[in-house]
């Protein structure tokens, strides 16, 4: 039923010199220790970010004032090889609780050897963010980012 075309996913990869179990734990348990602090959505400065270690867990930031802002949910928790979380941040940099507007991030951890692991990340279903924006458009009258997302969807169609 969706009228929004698929937007090509983003991908990234990095190879690190550590065992796959350790790499998975660093990515998840210690998420707040490495996530770049400038990327956050709360009004307060970010104190840490937390990825709850279970399917259905929350993925959120804690501000220095104690406030919390959700980013998404854990969809798949399969240590030490696979993790899927949602990214539900809309064009106003706010959490959108509607699962239909949730983009997904899948992270795979592959052991290249006993002390080397490749991490492959895919951020997909970006068009769901667009659908969320289109809906919001009818309510708020839209803005620059909203139009941007809509045109992004059109561009994705034209490219195929």
């Amino acid at each position: 039923m969706t009228s929004t075309p698929t937007i090509p996913p983003l991908t990234g990869t990095i190879t690190v010199d550590a065992p796959v179990e350790q790499v998975f734990r660093t990515f998840t348990d210690a998420f707040g220790s490495w996530w770049p602090a400038e990327y956050h959505i709360g009004q307060a400065d970010i104190a840490t970010a937390i990825l709850e270690p279970r399917a259905g867990g929350r993925w959120y930031e804690q501000g220095t004032d104690g406030s919390e802002c959700d980013w998404g949910r854990v969809l798949a928790w399969e240590p030490p090889h696979r993790l899927v979380v949602t990214w539900q941040i809309n064009g106003q940099w706010q959490y959108d609780p509607d699962p239909a507007h949730a983009s997904e991030i899948e992270v795979r951890f592959s052991a290249e050897g006993p002390d080397q692991t490749t991490v492959t990340l895919e951020h997909r279903h970006l068009e769901r963010l667009v659908e969320g924006q289109a809906l919001r458009d009818g309510i708020t009258g839209g803005g620059g980012w909203t139009s941007l997302l809509e045109l992004l969807a059109k561009a994705a169609t034209n490219q195929t």
Binding site: I7, P8, L10, T11, G12, T13, I14, V16, D17, A18, Q22, V23, R25, T26, F27, D29, A30, S33, W34, W35, P36, E38, Y39, P53, G91, Q92, W93, V119, L121, H123, L126, L129, G143, G144, W145, S147, L148, L149, L151, L152, K154, A155
Partner: protein
């Protein structure tokens, strides 16, 4: 990472330009409004805006005596460029963290 947003990626590599981009994503602003929210002069804001405009990520329009800047609705690579930048920096930071600080043994039982 992805080549689609290559121009945007370079433009958003500068922290101040990225801050301006994020402020404009929240709402359209004048140079003065941006300067109030950033630790730089109006002149410096204007210079960054010029770079962002030349790169196609930002547009402006006159509204009375004010000039309002906003994200370019035709700059279709901007969203992907931005998220691409987020993940490129996040993965780089993650790689450094993994090399620099193996987890404490006490976390083994998590």
């Amino acid at each position: 990472m992805d080549t689609n947003g290559a121009d945007g990626l370079g433009l958003l590599g500068d922290p101040t330009r990225r801050a301006i981009f994020e402020l404009l994503a929240r709402r359209p602003c004048t140079v003065g409004e941006l300067a109030q929210q950033l630790p730089i002069t109006r002149s410096a804001v204007s210079q960054h805006l010029r770079v962002l405009k030349d790169g196609g990520l930002v547009v402006s329009r006159a509204e009375g005596t004010r000039r309002i800047y906003r994200l370019n609705p035709d700059g279709v690579t901007a969203l992907r460029a931005y998220l691409d930048r987020v993940w490129a920096e996040a993965l780089t930071a993650f790689g450094k963290a993994t090399h620099a600080a193996p987890l404490d043994p006490e976390q083994e039982d998590r």
